[in-house]
Subunit: 364 residues, 2 copies
């Protein structure tokens, strides 16, 4: 289990790097009760710190026993725990945003209820990435290790869970001895799906705009650099200037990737389609008339040896049949089809008219 | 036939007002050939001015005979005709933009070819409104009157036309005697259709954004002012704060108006639907579950006396069945249905797979 944070990426989101603690400021609050604190929480069954809030004091200040002096960890000498929590929370939320921007799935653990003496207050959060690396903390120690395991399970099955941990008796199997209980909500945070728009023409531009508006991580690709850059198509998440057949080398394509090929002709498609069919893309759509598609199918079968089963994965002609005319209407027709595929709809009008008594009976 | 321009509206688009010529500057160029020019082109069969371009002169300057001195028309003493044409053209295009913003249909006449001595150069334009009022000129006189008639016919049948006018012999029925011919392209300019979004909730906001992006003149309506204003929903073409039943009083609704009622409940719908059914709206869609719609139908029939024929006009539940989840996905589902209705599509995926020889034969 890797516990170091990833290094800051090009997304402009600063992130604490735990592998270089001297550059960050990890604030540890420990109560005066002492509870077996050790500098390295991984080697004991105990967590890295305890906080006790004393509501009647009228102050949110807590005492802190700094046992890390002498290490290279920078710890401010006196802090309000609320400030520390705010920093911590921002760091976690920034990591969530970064994961979303990178198209990475992660799981978020949130302390939602505490009772008695526990390491972190309600609202403390930890993000767990698919490789087990974490950002933030829900208290460290053996309890946190259990939460990380639950988080990885949540990533695997896509389900949320609410877990209660008693921190009383190590002998009884509790992952701590603080004397309290902590309830933690663990949820998989799905990254926004990615839409790769291949072809920066009129339809490609409109589609990229609409895709971005709908919240998709949107990547534009074209073999012509002048049709695939942030000046030409501002605000997208990526620009892949490459030959059609090399797209999967330039851009990660997985089961959460949707691909709309709105290309300018058959010669491109014949190189592109075999490369796309070699990926796990959730959706591959191709623009063109039925005639263009039939000719493409013939060429792909005769020249590239693709069979009907492979080619039937392609949604061509792309989009729902709206008789769309303008590039923006075509973009709506395509995003409607992609939504339909993603959510499991049919594309048919929902219009319905229940007039008979049995219609009413059925719904009342 | 009204020939005065409309007064400037609140859209911020300045427009020459022909009923007050002293405030504008109408530039008239007349060739030295003389061709029976009269101050008021409406009372003769002759046009208001002629231009002859002399390409070999190396200058675009033309001589001008100002016969309007003594009237209150302001005419600059010496101009390049190109500047006059630019002013004229901007005025016409601004009128086109204003008509679009106001949801008004108009017809545009463009001189596309000239031969010999004719009143205006190729590229001269005139906008003709449904009431016969005009902006710009294609030469005035009897010829222009014929063009206005053609423009009104184009507005009626929706077809473009290319007309050639000989300006040679009044006795032979020509609408002028300049000695040339002029070819004029006349096209109906359809105003963008209007989408009225009723209900400023999450779906209403997303729908208004998408509608505006697609080029619809977009009006938001809600009975709650705080959900229907330019701060809350920026950049729309109108905000109608009114009771649902009073919407048709506040906003023009015609056969080019699409209405998406994304309201918050049945009590509103029961007042709203009868008012909408009394209009010529091209589309009326209503959000809600089948259950909500069935209960609404029952209430409208029992309490408002509406019958099945009237109610079958309503698209409810609104949108294509994409299993849309987010407000933006629902907005796409609704705009897909509206596009489908407007353009005559079916909503079914266009996906098609032609593999047999006959499939290929049919398309090659």
């Amino acid at each position: 289990m890797r516990r170091i944070g990833s290094s800051p990426s090009g997304m402009g989101i600063p992130e604490m790097d735990r592998s270089r603690p001297e550059t960050g400021c990890r604030l540890i609050s420990v109560s005066k009760l002492r509870c077996g604190f050790r500098p390295n929480p991984d080697v004991t069954g105990l967590h890295s710190g305890c906080i006790i809030r004393i509501p009647s004091s009228g102050s949110s200040r807590t005492s802190r026993m700094d046992r890390w002096r002498g290490t290279n960890m920078v710890v401010s000498s006196s802090v309000r725990w609320r400030s520390a929590a705010m920093d911590d929370m921002r760091q976690v939320f920034e990591a969530v945003v970064k994961a979303q921007a990178d198209g990475e799935t992660a799981a978020l653990a949130t302390v939602v209820h505490v009772q008695g003496s526990v390491p972190r207050h309600a609202g403390s959060r930890m993000l767990v990435r698919t490789d087990g690396s974490i950002v933030g903390t829900v208290g460290g120690g053996a309890m946190e290790s259990l939460v990380i395991k639950e988080a990885l399970a949540a990533l695997a099955d896509g389900e949320t869970r609410l877990r209660t941990y008693a921190l009383n008796d190590l002998a009884a199997g509790d992952p701590g001895i603080c004397g309290g209980t902590v309830q933690i909500f663990i949820e998989p945070i799905n990254a926004a799906p990615t839409l790769i728009v291949i072809g920066g023409g009129h339809v490609g531009l409109a589609l990229a705009e609409l895709s971005k508006w709908m919240g998709y991580r949107t990547v534009l690709s074209d073999d012509r650099a002048e049709f695939c850059n942030p000046t030409y198509a501002p605000g997208l998440d990526g620009y892949a200037v490459c030959k059609p057949s090399e797209l999967p080398v330039h851009t990660r394509i997985d089961h959460r990737t949707y691909i709309a090929a709105v290309t300018r002709g058959m010669p491109i498609d014949i190189d592109l389609i075999p490369a796309l069919l070699a990926t796990d893309a959730a959706y591959i759509g191709l623009i063109g008339s039925r005639r263009r598609w039939a000719l493409t199918v013939r060429a792909l079968m005769e020249e590239r040896g693709l069979d009907e089963a492979a080619l039937s994965r392609i949604h061509a002609p792309i989009g729902l049949e709206l008789q769309a005319e303008t590039p923006k209407e075509i973009a709506v027709s395509i995003m409607a089809e992609i939504t339909m595929v993603r959510r499991g709809g049919t594309g048919a009008p929902m219009r319905w008219f229940g007039l008979t008594e049995s219609d009413f009976d059925g719904i009342e």
